[in-house]
Subunit: 154 residues, 2 copies
């Protein structure tokens, strides 16, 4: 508790202590008659100087650091394909249809796709027909081309 208070207000406490110490110092010197002959202006100047420094130090410690935000534009190659979910929703392609579409884009024949997905060739034909309908194309090459342009597949 006391420690955290010290840490949080260290600057203020040190400043107060410095102020007290300086006054004590001046008093002590006055009492000693050592520099009593010094001009008032010197006292004032020295005090002003010292406390200016203290003020500067205090300000630097306390003040929220001024942050100047500099935006550095970094060009990021968008190799990374960003899937257009909105387009998918709009076109209403089902999960299975997307699978078939992706495999078509990979150059697989309907027979290949059927084997890969463990379904019959006829099933793939049905799926691909629906894909063509929804993409409003007639051939698989058109479907792949359009799907890529629509960011449905990489």
């Amino acid at each position: 508790m006391a420690l955290s208070f010290w840490i949080k207000n260290r600057s203020v406490l040190l400043y107060s202590a410095s102020l007290a110490a300086l006054l004590f110092l001046i008093k002590w010197l006055e009492w000693r008659f050592i520099i009593v002959d010094y001009s008032f202006e010197l006292y004032a100047g020295a005090t002003a100087f010292i406390f200016t420094l203290l003020g500067v130090w205090l300000a630097l410690k306390i003040a929220k650091p001024k942050t100047l935000v500099v935006e550095k534009h970094v060009l990021v190659k968008t190799n990374d394909f960003v899937f257009d979910a909105a387009a998918l929703t709009r076109l209403g392609l089902s999960k299975r249809e997307m699978e078939v579409l992706q495999l078509m884009a990979d150059g697989l024949s309907n027979q290949d796709i059927a084997e890969k997905l463990f379904v019959s060739l006829n099933t793939i034909k049905t799926h691909s027909s629906k894909v063509f309908e929804k993409l409003e194309v007639q051939r698989r090459t058109q479907a792949v081309d359009k799907a890529k342009k629509l960011n449905l597949i990489p």
Copy 2:
């Protein structure tokens, strides 16, 4: 010249002027015998307080703002297709074959390509067959996929 010097060092000049002004003020008050009875501690305290404030103000004015560099990632439509001439040479695709390949990639049927290039369907079949041979694939979708991966076409 003088103006820019003023702008650059305004803070310091104002500080110096303030210091001088305060000393003059104190001297003037002393001369007037108005507050000559006030204690030395009061002078010191007031001076300390005022110049602390000045120091704080000075510091806040002078302090270099901490520059925080924020990397802003800008997605760039990377039309960074760099045609791989070496691959083309290696595979030995002719100009006409590249044309056909490109049109295949655009989703055109053999008949479409034939009409576009003002040649017969059979000619396109011959060309596409040679393309498949050279790309070592069996179907046009595979050819397109491979050609894209090889940076032969965008």
